[in-house]
Amino acid sequence: MTNPISDIEKSDVILVVGSNTTDTHPVISAAMKRAAKFGGKKLIVIDPRGITLKKYAAIQMAPKPGGDIAWINGMIRIILEEGLEAKAYIAERTEGFDAMADSVASFTPEYVTKITGIPEETLTQAARLFASGEKGSIYYCMGITQHISGTDNVKALANLAMVCGNMGIEGGGVNPLRGQNNVQGACDMGGLPDVYPGYRKVHDETHAQTMESAWGVTGLSRTPGITATEMVDAALKGSLKALYIIGENPLLSEADLTHTEKGFKNLEFLVVQDIFMTETAQTADVVLPALCFAEKEGTFTNTERRVQRVRKAVDGPDGVLADWEIVCEIAKRMGTEMPFDSPEAIFTEIAATTPAFTGLSYTRLEKEGIPWPCPTADHPGTPRLHVGRFAKGKGSFFPLSWTPPAEITDAEYPLVLTTGRLLYHYHTGTMTRKSKGLNERAPECFVEMAGSDAEELGLKDGAMTQITSRRGEINAKVKVSRRMARGTVFIPFHFAEAAANRLTNAKLDPVSKIPEFKVCAIRIQGA
């Protein structure tokens, strides 16, 4: 996030899109609801489903899945046409405005309605409301990014924020809600194929040399690696032969599971390190047990870039090691010593080698977490990015056009499937499905659909159905719901026995390489 969580209640207008916040980030949703109910702030909520947060919205919109650039460009067009843009901010702090303005010209309310189904007057009201607030903030989640146009969707939101002068101010910003406890940290620490810790590109000679000297090695590869989804294809082709997976369950979370399974089967060697026997671990050659969060020391970095301590509360199962200890043991057996004696020692090296972390230490994090960048030992941390000037100088506008999703409905597959999480479960359910109470609340998979769709298919609430896409099929019970618009159904992806990702489409966004989990075409019949 560019801004801290505490900024939510300081915004005048809060635009939430592609995030079922009350279910996936409940504590953040509380701040949004408080802002709307008690703070006199205005919420604009955009999601294909009638999610709970819409109850608190001044304006709500339900675009058809895959229509985001259309309504965002449409809003920008209205803002420009009515002269509501932040003219001085655009002139002083941004570049590329004219090309962007040209790109939105064709997004008339009429055209946007055609693509998204959003009524023209609602779009106009939303544009006026968002531009009217002195401080407007944008919060988004996977409903924006899990599309083949995911990167452009985010750029479109950045355009909207900058048009209104909302970047780099208190109560503003473009704020992705990170889904996993330490997804921010995994990225920051270089758990990505193209960057070292601190987002320094591996193909950049200077950075590579810096890291070589920091790590006391030579010959670091200057070639960016491949992403998780690309690894599946590489395994299938035979160019990837060995895979070491830590704390992750791609055989439930990847799009198009049948394809993923084929890829994994083709590996010569698969080692999986986890706390439970996951679907992925089942297919491994070696399974290594690891300690869970309550059994070890360390840090997680939350969605607002706040580095926070994780502390050991209990001893883990006898003899089981922490993930870092296992990796170091393997390295040693491969002939490389990684001689750390504690997580704190590792953190000290992180601070020494990662510019944004230089000022951080366990001592400083003892009482409360600190948001990076934190360049010196007396720096308080940086809750807001881009204040005064953008990190790169001027903020860039991007001209953007709309393209339809990779798979659209037809006579054979007439319904749109969108996937997501439930309040009571977490990702592939490795932890939550071992929890008795949570399973009592959400015991099984379902397919949520509008009453009119169910009626047309001759399906009653609770009826077992077979759901089929071009890639696979699963069985789940119908849940008739007023939250769904006609033509679109929702399936949670937590349940291995009815894995929504058997159905999803693994077409990727060309830049972020994120699969299009949020749109694919399916058909449903009684089972």
Partner: protein
């Protein structure tokens, strides 16, 4: 020049800013006015009357949580009359429902009413207690509602409506029949409740406790370890309450950003996986399609050997998926291992999924 705003509490003068209550000024200056219904961040209700103080010139005692400080106000926070009033309030609370069983009560040692009874030496024997008006509710996996312990302070209602804004509970019925109810007075499991447990955390007595609180250690006898929640990216700060190497309860850290005490159902109640008997406890090696148990040394050596064989031929034929679930330190080690030992940049994690 702005006029100086001063208030006198217990003979000492303090400055205050416009709108501050007597309680806020007193607290800031370490004057311990006891409270019960007062809940930080919500509209004061003045419901419990424990925080009453004597204000010079006022006809009655005033609730310090609702009355704003005014210039020249003279307050006595612990006068004989204040103490008399507080003792009567506590006496009445102790006779509403059943509060005579601290020995077997799950909240003992962590009960505001018990603390107040001790501070003001009230035994709750003056009046006959009102008995149990409503049966206990336990038909959900997380929360036990014991109405015989409820003193109707309203903190749970404030927490549900003004902090978490789930709007699941409110005061229902009237007079001596008053009860905290869901819409239609149905069980929590059939209501709008999403089991965030904020109400349990703020309940000052034992009216709302974790479902298994009667058969697990009390909060007061457990060690508290502050840590970060391992579910979503909000990074809520939480206390794990531990005894005999087991986590029995989780509460939110009220003084820490970003959550200031709030948690969701997963963070507060979804911790039983830690002690699950399904945890992996020993390395496994697959032979002829089935797993067999192996020693650490054997499993690590085999892994190292196979990875080395493959990376020695073609380093980019290996890959590593690190994790958005493990710590920064572990992610750092994992990518350093991939880049310096496997000698590949084929390192990624589940950020996109």
């Amino acid at each position: 020049m702005e006029k100086e705003r001063n208030i006198t509490i217990d003979g000492r003068e303090f400055r205050f800013s416009e709108g501050e209550t007597i309680l806020t000024v007193a607290k800031r200056n370490h004057i311990d006015i006891p409270t019960l219904c007062h809940l930080k961040g919500t509209t004061p209700t003045g419901a419990c009357r424990i925080c009453v103080v004597e204000v010079e010139g006022a006809r009655t005692l005033m609730t310090s949580c609702t009355v704003p400080a005014t210039v020249g106000m003279v307050v006595r926070s612990e006068s004989p009359e204040v103490i008399r009033s507080r003792r009567m309030t506590i006496e009445l609370m102790l006779t509403s429902g059943r509060h005579d069983d601290c020995l077997v009560c799950p909240s003992s040692g962590n009960c505001r009413l018990q603390e107040l009874a001790f501070r003001y030496k009230v035994k709750g024997t003056t009046f006959e207690d009102t008995g149990v008006k409503y049966p206990m509710e336990s038909v959900n996996p997380f929360i036990l509602r014991d109405f015989s312990k409820c003193i109707l302070c309203g903190r749970c209602v404030q927490a549900c409506n003004e902090v978490q804004v789930n709007e699941a509970i409110d005061m229902g019925y009237r007079g001596s029949a008053t009860k905290i109810i869901t819409k239609g007075d149905v069980a929590l499991k059939d209501s709008d409740c999403v089991f965030c447990g904020e109400c349990v955390q703020v309940c000052p007595v034992a009216a709302l406790v974790p479902k298994d609180a009667r058969i697990t250690p009390r909060l007061s006898e457990m060690k508290e370890v502050k840590t970060t929640c391992s579910y979503c990216g909000v990074g809520c700060q939480m206390n794990l309450h531990v005894k005999n190497n087991r986590v029995w309860q989780v509460t939110g850290c009220e003084e820490s950003a970003p959550n200031y005490g709030s948690l969701c159902v997963k963070g507060r109640y979804g911790f039983d996986f830690i002690a699950s008997d399904k945890r992996l406890t020993t390395p496994l090696i697959k032979e002829n399609g089935t797993f067999r148990e192996a020693s650490w040394d054997e499993a690590l050596t085999l892994t190292a050997k196979r990875l080395k064989e493959i990376s020695d031929v073609q380093s980019d034929a290996t890959g590593l998926l690190t994790s958005a679930r493990i710590t920064n330190e572990e992610n750092y080690i994992a990518q350093k291992f991939a880049r310096t030992v496997l000698k590949t940049n084929n390192v990624d994690h589940c950020a996109r999924l």
